[in-house]
Symmetry: C2
Subunit: 265 residues, 2 copies
Amino acid sequence: MTQTPSAKPRQTASKPASAAAGARKAGRGPAKTDMAGIAAVDGAADVEQRIYQSVFDGVLNQRLPPGTKLPEPALCALFGVSRAVVRKVLQRLEHDRIVELRPNRGAVVAAPTPEETRKIFEARRALEAALVELAVQRHSGKDIEELHALLHQEEEAMANAYQPAWAQTARNFHLRVAALGGNPILLAYLTELISRCSLIVALYEPAGNAACEHEEHCDIVDAISKGDAKRAVASMNAHLVGLEERICLERPSSVKTLAQMLNLA
Amino acid sequence: MTQTPSAKPRQTASKPASAAAGARKAGRGPAKTDMAGIAAVDGAADVEQRIYQSVFDGVLNQRLPPGTKLPEPALCALFGVSRAVVRKVLQRLEHDRIVELRPNRGAVVAAPTPEETRKIFEARRALEAALVELAVQRHSGKDIEELHALLHQEEEAMANAYQPAWAQTARNFHLRVAALGGNPILLAYLTELISRCSLIVALYEPAGNAACEHEEHCDIVDAISKGDAKRAVASMNAHLVGLEERICLERPSSVKTLAQMLNLA
DNA sequence: TTTCTTCAAATCGTCGACGATTTCATGAGC
DNA sequence: GCTCATGAAATCGTCGACGATTTGAAGAAA
């Protein structure tokens, strides 16, 4: 459903391991942790990636609000693997700041503070500015065509008005622009930050005023295609500042925060 | 000896686990992997951190050239822990790009290619430029004093002419400047990149013309203290470009590369 | 009723072991 | 002499189990 934040070439062979894979019993027992709807797909693909993606998507889609506990035994049962595998995935999720690993107390879905949110956006602006500047230098004509195709895709997603799908295309756009910069390291860092931003945006559900975001995207592409580095950077910056402001305004109230408080012990 | 690249609060209690800690027998057996001198210190501190630091220092000090195999059983024996612990540390080292983890084929010390090296420096320039700009905005008088203290420390290290110590102070300087930017996320990314740069610099042993580096550091501090963002960024950029050029020039020959080729199968 | 103590259930950290894959040396064949 | 098949040793991936810590609730005392 969503792209892979930190893909890794694994080939974990041996063992059938497809025993209690698609478990997910409807009436969950005495366990307090509400993790319904995690094990969505059960293809024959890589198990680790499937666990990672399931948690990631769960957080993104609000099924796993911040503070939700992710006990190792429960994940083991859901995916039919041993704790060693689950533990590895949790460590990866922790590194990407999607869950928090408290020693001897288990893993919970991360809950970014307002202060953290501000720093994340500040870092993202710095990285995207640097990458856009590189993109202006290095882009080719074919790249611009591909960006236009993406913008067209955005328009279609906008018409459908299904928020998650739109958010996905927007994320794609930013990543594609960043890729033009031609620096895999900066791109990896930005991928991480965009994931965290998506998580935050999902939390504060911005009710999607996608129209103006789309126009800003168009403006950025225009500046890049004309080789105007200064305008491209300024446009990107304004775009990101706007995104952050829209979130911060929605922050104080919102029923979601209450929902989390009911959810965490 | 060196600072901690990615510190984590762990408290791994239980079990004495201080059995064969300070092993390191002199005459190494039939094993081909040369890992002499890894387990340097054996304090009662955190075991994971000790393993991480030992490998890190070993790579930095050329005792572990790129391509050196790091078999899990060997590390287990050296530090007196089980493979679960070693495996966790290796995963962390892989994420920080210090070792490469090939599935079913073990871990080896990472060998950055020239292309990677270029990208690392490019990313570092971007991050340090952004952070210096923030530092100019946010620094206080006390910060400048501390930087001056660091510069004085550099002069002393320069007099002693012991390369590793000097490199350590230089790394400290960059990190302190970056810390003034007040963004923990960008700081963490930069810390990672500076570690990787240090590894590369160690490989190509730049014979330390520390004098001019020191003067460039002074110039950067001067620009920051005067609130001149443009000059601070330009100075930092020039400094980093100089550092990279000095390395690239030394790259082609150097006896070290031959040594690695003998080491790897 | 409230608060503190005590205890059992849940969960985590670490360990040793088994099967699978890779690697390396030995020896046959050309 | 060189190349390729064969087998054993080394190493990795995964699993289940044990002890330690935390958690949450039941019960006693104020």
